[in-house]
Symmetry: C2
Subunit: 263 residues, 2 copies
């Protein structure tokens, strides 16, 4: 039987999602704990990778297992949370059709990038600190250039492995939050390093170092050369992965609030 | 000239507020950075101590310094935040009359204790996790027994140093939050370890191990023997220190929101 597991993690301690030799990753911890709780070797496939230090308030992975007469799904969630380190948590496990795929069936992914504008000792690992307010209107004008279908070579790490760099971007904009700003971008897919490079370059627009028109020219150039540096990992959250209607229970992702509530 | 400094800290890395030999404390870091920024030896006096691992979203300390023709107060705040470790932050510095005292002039202190009822990887260091909802009505009935003037010997660590154990408690109750519960207690003063012992004992009421009447009997017994264990430090925040009208600018503590905004 194939299952979808919905989870969240605080990425500070991890070298990203994907298993790599001799490093601690979220996938590694998850597979270790699932194997222990289900008493069978488990391999998971995530909806996508997150980089070292990047968080997820909603990530989805699939795996195959025979639960048989064993514990029900809610019990597995309970035991899994007891087994997992506290910086990884799961809220929901549900069966899916045999051919459902956490990565290939995902229709959209959403990332959020958090900026704090006041010194806040409680969000040091969850946001980037800026000591002055950037030009939000200019950043939003630039961000709007990405809406639609574009080749994001300019905002990719170009480490290869991707077939193409075209992403269809449904939403891209900055929002005011109580302690600062949040950039949210929703797209059918993302190329490697894309959100942090986009945010790093938008922040140059916010500081007046680039105009929105120059941002657009960088995007259209399909060349990595002129983009800004990557924004630091600690502000970035994978915040939602969306699937076709019916594949995932409606309760999985409450609309209008973060999947995992933070204080 | 005497100054009041308003600050917040994430207590996870610190052995509490007060300077002790060979340990990292908030007071130690603050004095080191103030001495560096103001270029004169600075000793600070806090409104009260916080224990190892306890946080403060609002703490106040006073110190004496000669700023003379030097930087203005906003500049000191800016430089101090650059010098301080990121888990300590200041928002406000203002002059006070020569005899104003951060500890003796404080009229009330408020503590909050945060409980999460869903596994939340982002508040691991900022709340206590409970895997089932306690009986909030019973906990609130018990908490109401503390309102007024009582001897809190039953809820003190009894390590001496206090003249008396009487506290006048103005507010004590549990509130629902998006991810769990929060206990808030406001009192003219607190004895050592009081909030964590009160919360630990209230949680026994919440699990049906004690009745509200038994909680009241424990309080009135003025004996440490029957109280529950101390709740863990990571859920506790010193959240507000109040002074007589006029001593502190109104802007220092926005009413109705936390002093430091967290995501």
């Amino acid at each position: 039987m194939r299952y979808f597991l919905h989870l969240a993690y605080e990425g500070t301690q991890y070298h990203g999602w994907q298993v790599q030799p001799n490093t601690l990753t979220v996938q590694l911890e998850l597979e270790r704990c699932l194997t222990q709780v289900l008493r069978q070797p488990i391999h998971v496939m995530g909806s996508g990778r997150t980089d070292s230090g990047v968080h997820a308030s909603h990530q989805v992975a699939h795996f195959d297992a025979e639960l048989g007469e064993g514990p029900d799904e809610a019990t597995v969630v309970y035991r899994l949370n007891r087994a997992l380190p506290k910086d990884i948590a799961t809220r929901l496990l549900h069966a899916v059709p045999e051919r459902a795929h956490a990565r290939f069936d995902a229709e959209a992914r959403t990332y959020e990038y958090h900026v704090r504008l006041v010194p806040d000792p409680f969000s040091v690992n969850h946001s980037l600190y800026l000591d002055r307010m950037p030009d939000v209107a200019a950043m939003n004008e630039a961000a709007a250039c990405m809406l639609g279908s574009f080749d994001f070579t300019s905002f990719s790490k170009v480490k290869g492995g991707e077939n193409h760099y075209v992403c269809v971007c449904y939403e891209a904009g900055w929002h005011h939050t109580p302690g600062g700003l949040m950039f949210r971008i929703r797209s059918n897919r993302f190329v490697r390093g894309m959100v942090r490079l986009v945010v790093g370059t938008l922040l140059l627009v916010g500081r007046g170092k680039l105009t929105p028109a120059e941002f657009k020219a960088i995007l259209l150039a399909q060349s990595r050369v002129d983009a800004g540096g990557a924004a630091p990992a600690q502000g970035l959250f994978l915040s939602r992965v969306e699937y076709p209607l019916g594949l995932v229970p409606e309760a999985a992702v409450p609309v209008g609030m973060p999947y995992f509530v933070t204080r």
